[in-house]
């Protein structure tokens, strides 16, 4: 029942906002729908924690402790981003960047995007998961080109084509999984249900599954933003409206990684070797190193943080690739804290660019003087994302790196160098943006900074103290995905 509500509310929201999305009350309606989704997701979470995994509607939907934590995270970030987007989009409209129809499109697509994310997470059917991932691209592609500038159109085109081609590889991977499963489970819908696949995974044909995993990793990996398939990501993040950048970074990348992880469990079961993990470690490490070096060459603030997302997604992929209880636990913790921190940073950056009227970092100056909350939000957020203690990112990165030192010592220099380079790049840039003199303009609407500090507060909390039930929950999930 909770599952249905969790999916129905954003879907209804999308349809309602397609009608009323341009009205004066649309931003509030958008937030209200996201709040409804969050409440339903919270109820679902409570139920799964107390009763254990559940399936619904002839096993078409399936929730266990691994996906329920992502459902809760998705609903939470969806809610706070909708709160942030209220004043943000009003200011954009005030600056004359958006028409009423564009706002209607934005609000409707925002809700539909949430719907596709939640569907991808909750469905038990690997085929439907693919459909939902593709639909997520479709709902966001027009949002990336919302401003209709040449650069935004180019970014959206690249996003559409690259992710479309990528996800087509994932479809081929899904076909191969079905091919292997059909022999054991019989033809028809059941052969793609993850729970059924999981129960027979040891008997799936290993050669087919290993080929399938290559396609699935390349396909969904394009959406995760793994190097060298990451080309779309910085452009889409930089050119779209900031709330879209926040949900792309905070949610879409996570859900794509979730899809990879679900496939990895099956492949590990079939192969009994570390093949899938090795591939993921390779892609992950390459992304971390490459993103760190590109980071230092960026001039656009949103592009810089987009590269930082690639770096962190690489780190998570690497952690999940290593496997084992500690690394997987750390990977999931990192997923959580990265989502929260990165979206908080995008909130602060969004208002900062509105004040400065540009995304070029050299023209953003003295944020702390004119608007201390935005400035401090950006400083604290950047320190958190760079892995400074006592924030949660430090805890997860520490666990990932110590595990890497134990099991794969040769990777440590690469990881540490990359993290160091990223630190130097981001920290020096942020410093010049927040301190010094300024000529920024006043914003016509009061900015929404509560979401920034709520997110950063949660990240701080996770760094200082992980509540026991949360730790149990992560550990259960880690046991599920090995």
């Amino acid at each position: 029942m909770e599952i249905l509500w969790t999916l129905a509310i954003p879907l209804i929201g999308g349809l309602l906002l397609a009608l009323f999305g341009g009205r004066r009350f649309a931003p509030e309606l958008n937030s209200a729908m996201s709040l409804g989704t969050f409440v339903a997701a919270a109820a679902l979470t409570v139920r799964v924690i107390t009763d254990g995994p559940i399936t619904a509607l002839n096993e078409q939907f399936f929730v266990d402790s691994f996906n329920v934590f992502l459902v809760a995270l998705t609903a939470l970030v969806g809610l706070t981003t909708s709160l942030f987007s209220r004043p943000y989009m009003r200011i954009e409209q005030h600056h004359g960047k958006l028409s009423v129809n564009m706002l209607r499109l934005y609000h409707s697509m925002y809700q539909l995007f949430t719907f596709t994310m939640l569907l991808a997470l909750l469905t038990n059917n690997l085929g439907i998961m693919w459909v939902a991932m593709e639909a997520a691209t479709l709902t966001t592609v027009l949002l990336v080109s919302l401003y209709r500038t040449p650069a935004s159109l180019e970014a959206a085109w690249k996003y559409f084509i690259l992710c479309g081609v990528g996800i087509a590889q994932a479809l081929f991977g899904t076909i191969l999984v079905y091919f292997a499963a059909e022999k054991l489970l019989g033809a028809g819908g059941n052969a793609l249900l993850w729970t059924h696949l999981d129960s027979v995974k040891a008997h799936l044909e290993p050669t087919v599954l290993s080929l399938a995993f290559v396609f699935l990793l390349v396909g969904y990996g394009t959406k995760v933003g793994l190097a060298p398939l990451h080309n779309w990501l910085p452009d889409a993040h930089a050119e779209g409206p900031t709330p879209v950048s926040a949900v792309l970074s905070g949610l879409l990348l996570n859900v794509a990684l979730y899809a990879v992880m679900r496939s990895k469990v099956l492949v590990d079961g079939a192969l009994g070797s570390h093949f899938a993990g090795d591939l993921m470690m390779g892609f992950g490490l390459l992304s971390v190193v490459m993103a760190a070096f590109f980071l230092s060459r960026q001039k656009d603030v949103k592009r810089m943080f987009a590269y930082s997302s690639i770096e962190h997604m690489g780190l998570m992929t690497f952690a999940f690739g290593m496997g084992g209880p500690v690394a997987t636990f750390a990977g999931m913790l990192h997923m959580t804290v990265h989502s929260l921190t990165k979206s908080a940073i995008f909130f602060a950056v969004g208002h900062a660019t509105q004040k400065a009227g540009t995304q070029l970092m050299e023209n953003i100056r003295g944020l702390i003087k004119t608007s201390p909350t935005i400035g401090w939000g950006l400083v604290i957020g950047s320190l958190a994302i760079l892995g400074m203690p006592p924030f949660g990112v430090f805890a997860s990165e520490f666990m990932i790196i110590t595990t890497a030192m134990h099991t794969y010592p040769w990777t440590t220099p690469f990881l540490l160098t990359a993290l160091g380079v990223a630190f130097a790049a981001i920290f020096s840039r942020v410093q010049t943006m927040v301190f010094g003199e300024t000529v920024g303009q006043r914003l016509p609407h009061p900015p929404a900074l509560v979401p920034v500090f709520v997110h950063l507060g949660l990240v701080l909390l996770l760094g200082l103290y992980i509540p026991p039930y949360l730790a149990v929950w992560y550990r259960q999930a880690a046991a599920l995905i090995g």
């Binding site: 439907i128 693919w130 040449p150 159109l153 085109w157 084509i161 076909i175 050669t207 452009d235 960026q298």
Partner: protein
């Protein structure tokens, strides 16, 4: 009887590969759309034959869906689009066609090698055609890379989806119906969004040539 069906299926698979090569070398947008529609028709007929010979009744629905979507709706939308966008008689200047064809042949060989171990395991009547399905996916991919205009790139994208659909039919007698419907919905919605997108691109750049869209580079 099965033998006859098997040969018919192979014949249609060969036609599919031929069309993929024709698309690779076709420079006129209008002919490209017609080729795409023709590819959809071949796909639909061959799916129907597979359905008949293997008595897999759900494949009739897939065949009907393919006929409706890929032979009627999508080409119709594309025709309307190129008329409204005034690119109907567009001819693309392409980078060396013979070289592209040679690369295409190499891709076909590669696809057959990749598919060989899988088709040995398949129990379907169509198992021999899996290599062709993979080859047409790769050829469409090559087509997307070699094109610099928006409409041909999208046709390449749709042709790739055709290849994947064919792969699903030849390896496993098609995906479960709910998944196929979902994929069809995605393709249709995607086409509409692309339609909107074409107009936005032309409004901003005064052309559908993607050469104008090379500003965003990795630095």
């Amino acid at each position: 009887m099965t033998n006859l069906f098997g040969q018919l299926i192979n014949l249609f698979a060969a036609l599919l590969l031929l069309i993929a090569f024709a698309m690779l070398s076709q420079r006129r947008v209008l002919s490209l759309i017609n080729l795409f529609a023709f590819q959809g028709l071949v796909l639909s007929v061959s799916t129907a034959i597979v359905a008949w010979s293997s008595s897999q009744h759900h494949l009739y629905y897939s065949a009907a869906l393919t006929l409706l979507l890929k032979v009627l709706v999508l080409p119709w939308i594309l025709h309307r689009l190129i008329r409204r966008l005034n690119v109907k008689w567009d001819v693309e200047t392409m980078f060396n066609i013979p070289t592209t064809m040679l690369v295409g042949i190499a891709l076909v060989v590669f696809a057959f090698n990749l598919a060989a171990p899988i088709s040995q395991m398949a129990g379907t009547i169509t198992k021999g055609t899996l290599g062709i399905a993979m080859a047409s996916v790769l050829l469409s991919f090559l087509m997307m890379i070699t094109r610099s205009k928006a409409v041909p790139q999208v046709i390449g994208f749709l042709a790739m989806e055709n290849g994947l659909f064919f792969a699903a039919t030849s390896a496993t007698y098609g995906m479960p119906m709910v998944v196929e419907l979902g994929i069809a919905l995605d393709v249709l919605v995607g086409m509409f969004i692309l339609g909107i997108f074409f107009f936005q691109i032309r409004e901003t750049f005064d052309s559908l040539d993607l050469k104008h869209m090379e500003k965003l580079k990795e630095e």
